[in-house]
């Protein structure tokens, strides 16, 4: 019974991880920008929803505002931070440090505006009921799983069926060639940031409703996204989403075996193991060299 309960808990965590990881993977895959401020988009989206809720907006409007805020943040990052850097030198860690600086700034601004500490959206959706003896499930579990599922299918369809999605995949493979095809790599890169960041919003809203937010929450989300992207195989959205789900479940199920304080380390041990033994990830193509 405990196993089933932990599995269900893991699924909910996994759905959140899968969505953020898919967003990170989309951005990283298409633009090769290691967007460590992805967690910041998550935080912003969560707090915008929180404010909208607090201001008494209808929830659909709050969701839209949250998605819009995440997208705007992603686009602003691309245009004002990443693009100027890449115009000069575009080194991997230059981008890393710049994005890290931004995440520090945003975290503290949120702390000043929204108050430091814990904040949550109070909704009955996160309240569990006993569906089977000893098994407690909140409606939020089904909502988050469905959201993750629907968004993932939509994203897959977009990337395979819509030419703009195909163009994003093309950008990932050979950015220099994009212009020869008459397309704008800058425009596509903005698109990747917009969609990728938007994916963080639903996850952030679910988090706001369940575990609650604090201004530093983006940090952990970003780490998990990175781990899932690598475990899933760079360039594979399917892999990142699946790996995000897996990490969520592993973190939860690990509790049947190890003590609770080790649960998080399990995720990163999985990551480390994957890199040593299967660097290509679940779906990636081997390219260790």
């Amino acid at each position: 019974m405990l196993f089933l309960q932990l599995l269900l808990n893991g699924l909910q965590t996994g759905a959140i991880y899968a969505l953020t990881a898919a967003g990170f993977a989309l951005i990283f895959g298409a633009t090769k920008i290691f967007h460590v401020a992805h967690g910041t988009a998550f935080t912003i989206a969560g707090y915008v929803f929180l404010f909208a809720w607090g201001a008494g907006w209808p929830s659909w409007l709050g969701v839209l505002a949250s998605i819009a805020a995440a997208m705007v943040f992603g686009i602003v990052m691309e245009r004002l931070v990443y693009r100027p850097i890449q115009r000069h030198e575009g080194s991997f860690f230059t981008v890393f440090v710049a994005a890290f600086g931004v995440s520090i700034v945003v975290q503290n601004i949120i702390g000043m505006i929204a108050g430091r500490g814990f904040a949550t959206v109070d909704t009955p959706l996160s309240f569990s009921a006993e569906i089977l003896p000893e098994i407690f499930v909140a409606p939020m579990l089904w909502i988050s799983l469905a959201t993750a599922g629907v968004l993932f299918v939509a994203l897959t369809l977009f990337l395979t069926r819509h030419p703009a999605g195909v163009a994003l995949r093309a950008l990932a493979q050979n950015p220099d060639l994009i212009r020869t095809y008459g397309l704008s790599s800058n425009g596509l890169s903005v698109l990747a940031f917009a969609i990728g960041s938007a994916l963080a919003a639903p996850a952030a809203i679910v988090t706001a409703m369940t575990t609650g937010l604090n201004e530093a929450i983006g940090h952990h989300v970003m780490l998990i996204s990175i781990a899932a992207t690598i475990v899933g195989g760079i360039g594979s959205l399917r892999g990142a989403a699946l790996a995000g789900m897996m990490l969520g479940i592993a973190e939860s199920l690990a509790l049947t075996v190890v003590d609770t304080q080790w649960a998080e380390a399990v995720s990163f041990l999985v990551l480390f193991g994957f890199i040593i033994f299967r660097p290509a990830g679940i779906f990636g193509v081997t390219q260790t060299r």
Binding site: G115, G117, F127, A216, E251, E264
Partner: protein, 372 residues
């Protein structure tokens, strides 16, 4: 929101509204080393407010010949920034009285303060390892082992609790509480049925809760900090745990008090009856309410006391004709021992730990009510 913005405005105005004699004398500098950014900044903000009210009172009453100024440094709750901040407070700002909090900060600055003979006062950290770090390191808060001793009989006798589960962060505080629960519960005929340590950064608690539920407790004791405490409470309630939640003084935060899921939670604090006739307590409660637009809680009171004590001891030293510094104030403290502070009389032991009476509080309708 509005309350906070108001606080911000007051804070901004603060440096300009010093008493008139500020121009004539170089102020005494009181330092503070709290986490002012990062995940624990909520505490730093609360601590600072308490101290701000105390300093305003000291200055308004002209308790000392020179005004007192608060110099705030951000410790980030990390050793290295704490050490840099402490060095600045001692060597640049010439602070002889530093308010601190947090295990890492306290332990990192204790040797520096010890060498410089600077008084360090803790009113937030309750880990048992904070006792006796240095003759100059004092605690104006009852350390956690005492808190456990206070709540266990209440739980067993008043709430008929037989089985307790503990969720704790694996640090000296958590370990201290774990040890105390193991010892105290059987003594009162109850038992510790499970203990679950969580990493400091953990944010998802659904799975931990599932294991807590398995142990079928009558009450769950939480030993964590800041935002994480609230997340654990919400995790427990969301996942169908309806039993009593209890904790130590760390629960005395707005984030918990206003959390709907925390309704009915029990926690211990120093005895503090704002409605009592005690003038010091009353003045503090009124002025705090006026200044920040909300009722104070224990943490505000603790750091009010921590800062106010400087005024009391400083006056003693000044009146005896001495120079106000760590050494003279420590001597004054050891000579006096008992002080009238917010919440009543507090008494220091040899090590500089203040013993106060403890009370058990319950959160009811977003208010903290003393219940035992």
């Amino acid at each position: 929101m509005i309350g906070r913005r108001g606080a911000l405005a007051t804070g901004l105005a603060l440096p300009f509204i010093r008493p008139a004699f500020a121009q004539t004398a170089e102020p005494y500098v009181m330092g503070s080393l709290f986490p002012m950014s990062g995940p624990n900044a909520e505490f730093g903000e609360a601590f600072t407010r308490g101290a701000q009210v105390a300093i305003a009172h000291i200055n308004a009453d002209n308790m000392l010949r020179r005004p007192v100024r608060l110099q705030s440094e951000d410790s980030q709750a990390l050793p290295q920034p704490s050490v840099i901040g402490m060095n600045k407070l001692i060597n640049i700002d010439r602070a002889s009285w530093v308010l601190s909090s947090w295990t890492a900060t306290a332990k990192a600055i204790a040797p520096i303060g010890d060498r410089a003979k600077t008084i360090m006062v803790n009113g937030g950290g309750v880990g048992p390892d904070l006792s006796g770090l240095s003759p100059y390191f004092w605690n104006v808060i009852a350390l956690a082992h005492l808190e456990v001793q206070a709540i266990v009989p209440f739980l067993v006798n008043q709430r008929n609790v037989k089985r307790v589960a503990l969720i704790y962060v694996d640090d000296p505080l958590g370990d201290g509480i774990l040890g105390q629960l193991r010892e105290q519960l059987p003594r009162h005929g109850a038992s510790l049925v499970g203990s679950y340590s969580v990493p400091r950064a953990a944010q998802q608690f659904g799975s931990v809760v599932a294991r807590v539920r398995q142990s079928r407790p009558d009450a769950i004791y939480i030993a964590s900090f800041g935002a994480q405490q609230a997340q654990i409470v919400k995790g427990l309630r969301d996942n169908g745990v309806t039993q009593v939640i209890c904790s130590f003084s760390g629960f005395g935060l707005d984030g918990i008090r206003t959390l709907p899921e925390a309704e009915g939670a029990l926690f211990t604090t120093q005895k503090l009856d704002f409605e009592s006739g005690d003038p010091i307590t009353k003045r503090f409660a009124t002025d705090y309410q006026a200044r920040f637009g909300q009722a104070p809680v224990t943490y505000h009171a603790n750091y009010y006391n921590a800062a106010y004590l400087f005024g009391v001891l400083g006056r003693q030293v000044e009146q005896a004709g001495g120079e106000v510094n760590g050494e003279t104030m420590r001597a004054a403290m050891l000579a006096t021992r008992k002080f009238n502070l917010v919440g009543g009389e507090g008494e220091f032991d040899e090590l500089g730990n203040m013993l106060t009476q403890l009370q058990v509080n319950e959160i009811r309708g977003q208010r903290v009510i003393a219940v035992g």
